[in-house]
Symmetry: C2
Subunit: 510 residues, 2 copies
């Protein structure tokens, strides 16, 4: 559930944000040479400097029942150039999440960075129903009967199956099995952690980066996510979230009259002028996305997703918002002044290049598999309650409404969201005392840390909680970068230290 999934999650009942594929050009900053700056989930594979072979492995559509005997080809990317099979070199295995696996291969530089030292085979396995791993080809999403096999349990079994095959097909006389370390970010990190929990005999350890395995019903407060967003903005200045909170009321007041709608449409250069309350709601939802995305993507260097963003976008937004806030509190046009300040602030987000002609809150990219697939998952087992109080966060109050979500899911997919399914299958916090050898890393700037594991397990369990104060969404999995804060450099060192330990233990198993 990286950026775009979040968008869907938050506002799919009224809005889906359009992403113009043409906007996805990647800025390779000349001064940093081959450095790649991609944002989570959406990257362009052609920019990658990583080399891999694309392979396919046939897996059953259904690993747990025998009614459907269909099989399909799961895509995986593999690089063995550093692999030392004779010395039991490990397999670094990325548990693909909701997107084209090439995106992840090209955006998980950490695995590539350390593969040489570890003499590791690098494997990126695609999550079924994403990218090119479509069990029923073009009909995978068209028929509900076909789509139903999109689930986390099935994906984990795909990975178990594939690793078993990789072990057997590569086995040498002296090394019967190779150590396996799973890596994953976001939902991919959840899969890595769950993989180790459910199949510890197949994977020897897991790096679960920004994996909100607790973001389920009853496990964490549903407003925690938005409190972190607010906290990110408040860290710049308490004035910043305060002004944002005021802005919702200002918009409401202003747009209660036609004149105000016209004023806002003109001054915010909206592509489609506001004409109804629904339009206003869409605009507010879009704004909430801006703040959320800025928090998630609050990386220490310029990035490019949805649109080009500066380094530390939250700082950019807040700086402008605070600088431009009118001092005169008796100003009769206070609402307009505040909203002009806000417009200036968010322009750094939606119009960083200065080339955007108008602000389009109705953009939509619902054809993308990753959007559709994750929405389906959120309408079956990945039900993650989100809400805001308006009191402890800077958003308008919005309750989590399972009933409304269920209606939406029924209409879109014909499914019932199962709010307790993930808990039954994976146990949430209750599963942790029985797990071992998993690093849960969380950036403290990342709103998804709300559902992350922030506490280590019992001594000896190697359930490690690594917090990265200056980190946004799974920054630690990204390629090393000169702008990296010390905390992420240190986090990666911890990862390496435990990976070494786990590999050593795996090598000595019978």
């Amino acid at each position: 559930m990286a950026v775009r999934q979040l968008l869907l999650k938050r506002c799919s009942d009224v809005l889906t944000l359009k992403i113009n594929k043409g906007q996805f050009s990647v800025t390779v900053l000349s001064q940093l040479g081959k450095m790649k700056y991609f944002l989570p989930l959406v990257f362009l594979s052609f920019v990658s400097g990583y080399v891999y072979e694309t392979k396919w492995y046939t897996v059953p559509v259904d690993h747990f029942s025998y009614s459907v005997k269909d099989t399909f080809k799961l895509r995986y990317l593999v690089n063995v150039e550093n692999w030392n099979a004779d010395a039991k070199g490990p397999i670094f295995f990325y548990t693909g999440n909701e997107g084209d696996i090439e995106m992840f291969a090209n955006n998980t530089g950490f695995m590539w960075d350390i593969a040489k030292d570890f003499q590791a085979m690098v494997v990126f396995a695609e999550h079924r129903y994403y990218g090119k791993s479509l069990p029923y080809g073009n009909n995978s999403y068209t028929d509900p009967k076909n789509l139903g096999f999109l689930s986390s349990s099935q994906a984990l079994a795909d990975y178990a199956d594939l690793i078993t095959y990789l072990q057997k097909s590569n086995s040498k006389s002296k090394a019967k099995t190779y150590p396996v370390i799973a890596f994953g970010g976001s939902y991919g990190g959840m899969l890595s952690a769950w993989f180790r929990m459910k199949y510890p005999y197949i994977v020897d350890g897991a790096i679960a980066a920004s994996a909100p395995i607790l973001q389920f019903t009853g496990m964490v407060p549903c407003d925690a996510f938005n409190r972190i967003v607010t906290s990110d903005f408040g860290a710049i200045s308490p004035e910043c979230p305060k002004k944002i909170r005021e802005s919702w009321k200002a918009i409401t007041r202003l747009t209660s009259k036609d004149e105000g709608m016209k004023w806002l449409s003109a001054n915010w250069t909206l592509c489609s002028p506001l004409k109804s309350d629904k339009n206003v709601t869409l605009l507010k939802e879009w704004l909430a996305e801006v703040y959320t995305n800025a928090a998630m993507l609050n990386y220490p260097y310029p990035t490019n997703f949805l649109l080009p963003l500066p380094a530390y976008p939250v700082l950019e937004i807040c700086s402008k918002l605070i600088a431009n806030v009118p001092k005169n509190k008796t100003d009769p046009d206070q609402d307009k002044a505040l909203l002009m300040s806000l417009f200036s602030a968010i322009s750094t987000y939606f119009n960083h290049t200065g080339k955007t002609k108008c602000l389009d809150v109705n953009e939509n990219d619902s054809d993308a598999l990753m959007d559709k697939g994750w929405d389906y998952q959120s309408c079956t087992e990945m039900v993650m309650p989100m809400c805001s109080t308006g009191e402890f966060d800077m958003f308008e109050a919005k309750k989590w409404d399972l009933g409304k979500e269920a209606e939406r899911c029924k209409e879109r997919w014909g499914t019932d969201p199962k709010p307790y399914q993930a808990e039954m299958l994976y146990g949430g916090r209750k599963a942790l005392p029985y797990a071992s050898k998993i690093i849960f890393s969380n950036g403290m700037l990342d709103p998804w840390a709300s559902g992350g594991v922030l506490k280590a397990g019992p001594k000896g369990s190697d359930i490690i909680a690594v917090t990265i104060p200056e980190g946004a969404h799974h920054l630690d999995l990204r390629e090393s970068n000169p702008s990296d804060p010390a905390s992420v450099v240190q986090a990666r060192k911890i990862h390496v230290q435990y990976i070494k330990k786990w590999i050593k233990a795996a090598r000595s198993r019978p």
Copy 2:
């Protein structure tokens, strides 16, 4: 896979043994009052003195995918008369295996025996597709599409679902969750162990009695099972298995001529005279069953299954066989003499009452759900290789032939047996280092100990291997009996000791 499943397993390609339901009357021995003597898997519920309420819980047909949205009612039996909910009394949960759950409730006296002291709720959950827990009613077995949801993974998820419901529906303010201990014998024991491995956050410990979780491809030699049968017979006297081994050749020699077939048919009082090699093969298969069943059911008191059996049937068979073996090795009719001795010996098995008029090797009870269901499971994921060498065991050499089994499965069920599925799903021996709080108990007289866990896990793991030298198939789960050998009494004490420990730990969890 208790007795009758084994029968199918061993000879389903050429023979299924008919069981006349009229023969299942249970002899309640007057001198032992209310003692119940049932054999594994097939008992009559009406003889039970146990009291329980029959309840139903709705579960999804498919827990892991979302194409099939059907649900069905799972049957479970529950007794709360001893349950002390206020004091966090535990839930004793039998993970039902391949049969009507009332059979298990009535045959797992150990759970009932200790429930009072533990102030426990007693629950017996039925395995889907057995007894009355038929997802598609009378059509559950008729349509392959319906039958495919018969799998161990789905059954375990049923149990996880049911326990979650039991916890929630019974939760009191002071006790949010109750300790849960799983119990199971044979395949039910495998499920108990796997349940703890896959859902440790739902079940706090497991008593896995005679659970051959290693009886899969590549984990144990396929002839180990038959070596234990042989060993049981050899323990009476080395002469016994020797004579049995000689008997196969004697039968072959004798029946190579029509006269010999006639002689054997007459002297063994066969219901259907031998007329072909196929008939002879059937007879041999039937004999192999006799020895195998006698070993599995080598209980210290008389029992009643397939037909009435004396206490320690192996001893009975061997005693007669040895006593009657001709001393004169130059006897020209040596084969006939040996076979008459053998007939006398096996008469204690098939004609203990003296009322059987003829020996019928063609009996068949293939309508029973338990036979059909387990055969389906053995044709999908529960593929348990069995073979005999004729060298280290007393049987004729017979290789494990997966190809032949696959042909049979294809023909009967349209399925492909997956020899490595159980290993992928449950890990076999490799999963044990990651498991905790499971007692694997094995009777050393039980051929299924071949696939059992006989070695404890690392200190502190509470992976306990309890061996019961004088025990046959999950004797320890049966009701306490005056004839119980000391070793099973001791085994039950160990069970109780660990159950106490696990409950205490569960009560102190947050």
